[in-house]
Symmetry: C2
Subunit: 230 residues, 2 copies
Amino acid sequence: MKVAELQFQLHHTHHHQHQQQKQNKQNETAQMCRKIQLSVADQLSPPIRSDSADDCDMADEGEEFFVPPLNFAVVDNGIFRSGFPEPANFPFLQTLGLRSIIYLCPEPYPEANMEFLRSNGIKLYQFGIEGRKEPFVNIPEDTIREALKVVLDVKNHPVLIHCKRGKHRTGCLVGCLRKLQKWCLSSVFDEYQRFAAAKARVSDQRFIELFDISGLKHLPMSFSCSKRIR
Amino acid sequence: MKVAELQFQLHHTHHHQHQQQKQNKQNETAQMCRKIQLSVADQLSPPIRSDSADDCDMADEGEEFFVPPLNFAVVDNGIFRSGFPEPANFPFLQTLGLRSIIYLCPEPYPEANMEFLRSNGIKLYQFGIEGRKEPFVNIPEDTIREALKVVLDVKNHPVLIHCKRGKHRTGCLVGCLRKLQKWCLSSVFDEYQRFAAAKARVSDQRFIELFDISGLKHLPMSFSCSKRIR
C-alpha cells in the first residue's frame, strides 16, 4: 500500500517535467559515457508491480517488503551503490527518489530496467568498463575520472552507482571517491573489501591507490559528509 | 588545513549553544539508558590534534587524511555506524557534524572520548548491552527498542551508533531499524553479515528476525531513504 502511494506521488511530481526532452550533447563525456536522457511518458505509466513479496521470506501479515539490490549501501548523502538491480528491487529503488543511475558495464541495459528509468524520470549514465578477471584487469582511469565527475555533480543526486555485483567496478569508483574525500587508504581498502569479500582484488586496490585525484580536487563536493557542518 | 578550518567553524557554531545546560530527566529511557547531556566548555577548547596522518599510510604531499572508525558506514540520512572511535578518528567524526552518539556497551566512556563530546557539543546515549559470546548471547529486546527510539528521533541527527567492533550490538540495532524500514529479511541479514564477516552470529540474526516492531511502527521516520521523495 505504501508502495502504491509512493508511485502515485512520483508520477505527479515528474509527469510534466521533461516531455520529449532532447538528448543534450555532452562533448566531454561523449566518448566514454553513453548518457541517456529519458523522456517521461506522456501517459501515466501503469504502476510497476511490486515483486518484492515473492522474493522475500518475510512476507507475513500480508505486508509487502522492500528488496534492496544485491550489495546495496549508502555511500554518502544522495549517493548509493549496489549490484545489478532486478525488477524485484524496483519498488525499493523508487523509495530513493533517484535522479540518475551510473552503470559501469558495457552490456546494454535490459528493457525492463529502461522502462523503470523512463517511468520514473531517471537519467542513465553508462560507462562501459569491461569486467575482466585478474590478472587481466585493466580499469580505465579516464573512464573512472569521468564517472566521478557525474557522481560529484549534485544535480545528478540522488544517484545510484552499480555494475554487475557491486564489488569491483563499483568498488573502484567508490574507492576513488573516498580518496577525494581524503579518507586514509587503509579505510578505503577496508570498505572495498567489505563489499568484494572473498572476491577482493589486489589489482583494484592498486588502481585506487595509484588513481590521481589532483585534477578533481577543484570540484565542489557539497554532497559530502565531510562538508556537512551543522 | 581543512581540518583546522572545520574545527574553527564547529567551535563558533556550538560555543554558546548549551552553557551549563542541566541534564533533563527522561523517565521513559532512564532505566536502561544513561543519557549524558554535555555542556560545551565556556572557553574555546584547544583544537583536537589530528592524529590521522600518523595512523595512515597515505600521508604524502604533506596533506592530512581522515581516518574513519573501524567498520564505519552510512546507514541512512543522518545515521552512521562504526566500531569504537579512537582519538585518531576524531577529526573525521568532526566532519559529520554529529549531534549525538549511541553507545551500546556497559563499559564507561573513556575520558578522551568524553572530552571530544564536550568540545563538540555531542550528546551521549549509553545503552549498556553486555557483549557476551555465543551461545550465551542475550540481546535485551527492550534496550534495543529504546535505542531505536533515539535513532528514529531526527532531533538527535546526525547520530553515530557504535559498540566495540561495530559488528554484533550495532548490527542488531541496525538490523531492527531495517525491519522498520520494511527491508526484506534476507537483505537485512546480508547487511549484518557484511559487517560481522567471519564473526556473524546466527543468534543475532535470530534476534533480528524475532524482534517485534509493531510498537514502533507509529513513530515518524522522516530521516529514512524510504520517505525521500524528490
